[in-house]
Amino acid sequence: MSTTEPSLKHNLKTTQDVEKLQNLLEILIQDIVIDHKNETLVPSSTLNQIKLDVDRSFNYIENATNKSLYKSLLKNTLNKVFEIKPKWFYYQGYHDIVAFFLYQLTYIENGTVQFKKCDNDRLLLYIIVFTENFLKDFMTKDLNNAMVYLNFIPKILKKYNMYNYQIFKNKPFYGSIANIITLFTHNISQQNIPIRLKIMSYLLESKNISFILVFYTKLISHFKLKIEERVLNNSDSGNDPLVLQSLINTLITDELDKIDLNELEKLLKESFDDMNSPKIQNIFKYSYENNGLLINFDYKREKIILKNTLLVAVNMIMLKKMTPDITSPYTFAGTVLTINNIHRLIRYYTLRYLK
């Protein structure tokens, strides 16, 4: 936790990054209005959990009065979100994200909370629309969707040629959960706020929550040498994936807090580009686990099936025209390609059927 007093805070909070964040939120909420007609009372169990988490928020603010004002704002905002959206379920960690937005888009003056270029209702709108677009998958009755997200991390790691992929193969990357579902807002301090602001802005620009998965994996790839040195080649860590994942997560979280902002910008940009590259897109495209989730990218499933069926058909025609000699490198390569495409198609159909 930071020991820096918020005298520095005001400067940090009025940076271009905050303005950029707010501009992106403005774009996101364009033409959207809050529908209050389904408002209902929030269940007491949710209110109790919110209270517990709010009490443990804003630890980076030292001024007790300011901290108390922010906590009150957070509690009221969270309660309001769940009154307006009664079908959403609160999860621990959501409060970290909301606290982040509140802290960035408000300030304290004369003992009251002031809003930056917005008012309380607009701030609420930012949060609700942001949640709808990026966090809705976690607001369900259980966190099974989060497990689906964590399952994608080893798959993306494989695309980054991380040789330790085998350790995590077919296992959700549980160790990443805190950073993924809080969008890196769980361990905020006065020092790392500029870093978290940049991450949040890039996420908003990316328009897809999968950005966080790609960025998380990019961090693992970026700190690969340190991970090898301190975790993977350290006999004390053993080979328990859960231990390794936790240690890797701790390492990248610590390193992220120390990262140079230019280096961070570069990593974020690379993650943004990677997210839109075919190599990463194919992971999400050819999975049925993410069907109906925000990481689905609005793929036209039928179009993918049609495209792959055609691909297999073309493969088969080409194979027929080739010499029926498997020792020929062309025939061999063609056969492998065809089998691979058929396999992919069968898997795709099977997953759809099972779903």
Binding site: R56, Y91, L143, M147, Y174, I177, A178, G238, L242
Partner: protein, 223 residues
């Protein structure tokens, strides 16, 4: 049994015990762990999201036991994730808040969750009534909790992570009981370190590491 409050044993150990801390949100699990592993208490603690872990080594019967302690999120919705961490656990502490009856009542549920998610029935379980320093707000009578523990064959301690009362005792009691059980019952699942430094599940086997494997720097400590 001698307590080891220094961390020198973390680099070299004979046995590895995986322990889990479970219980409702806000009962003080994270502070119990930080008090035990680092003698630290955070007034401004934050919610645990998912799972965190810390290690501490203790000496029992001349053997160095490394306790790998997993601190889990208390909110019910995290159970799908936290239960993945129960696998291989040889000990568990179910924590409640002595000032909050609901957290005590939910201990039966936690016990059921443990029993349905564990492969190892020989697990040693302790019931911990935390926040003992708040006597004036007590709502769970100690006798009732003791009775519950007796009926369910649980160890029982009331602790205060804030005042550091009985914290060491609670963990030590758990670890010693696991050790004693493993001495008398062959087959209890503990984790031992093999010669390659990797961790395997298996029977309790004493191991003496080669000098070259000894570490000069710390790793695997609190996340």
């Amino acid at each position: 049994m001698s307590d080891a409050d220094d961390n020198q044993y973390n680099y070299d150990y004979d046995l590895l015990y995986k322990l889990v801390l479970i219980g409702d949100s806000g009962v003080g699990k994270s502070n119990l762990l930080s008090r035990y592993s680092n003698n630290d208490f955070q007034i401004n603690s934050k919610s645990t999201i998912g799972v965190e872990f810390a290690t501490k080594a203790v000496k029992v019967d001349g053997k160095i036991i490394k306790a790998q302690i997993w601190d889990t999120a208390g909110q019910e919705r995290y159970r799908a994730i936290t239960k993945a961490y129960y696998r291989g656990a040889v000990g568990a502490l179910i924590v409640y808040d002595i000032t909050n009856t609901k957290t005590y009542e939910n201990c039966s549920d936690w016990l059921n969750i443990l029993s349905t998610n564990l492969e190892n029935n020989d697990i040693v379980i302790g019931l911990i009534g935390n926040k003992k320093d708040l006597q004036h707000q007590r709502s769970v009578p100690i006798e009732e909790a003791q009775e519950f523990a007796r009926n369910n064959q649980l160890l029982f301690t009331e602790t205060s992570a804030l005042s550091n009362e009985n914290v060491e005792k609670a963990f030590t009691q758990l670890i010693t009981t696991i050790y004693e059980n493993s001495k008398h019952q062959t087959g209890i699942e503990t984790l031992t370190k093999n010669n390659n430094g990797s961790i395997d599940a298996g029977n309790t086997v004493s191991l003496t590491k080669n000098n070259k494997e000894k570490k000069s720097s710390s790793s695997g400590e609190c996340c």
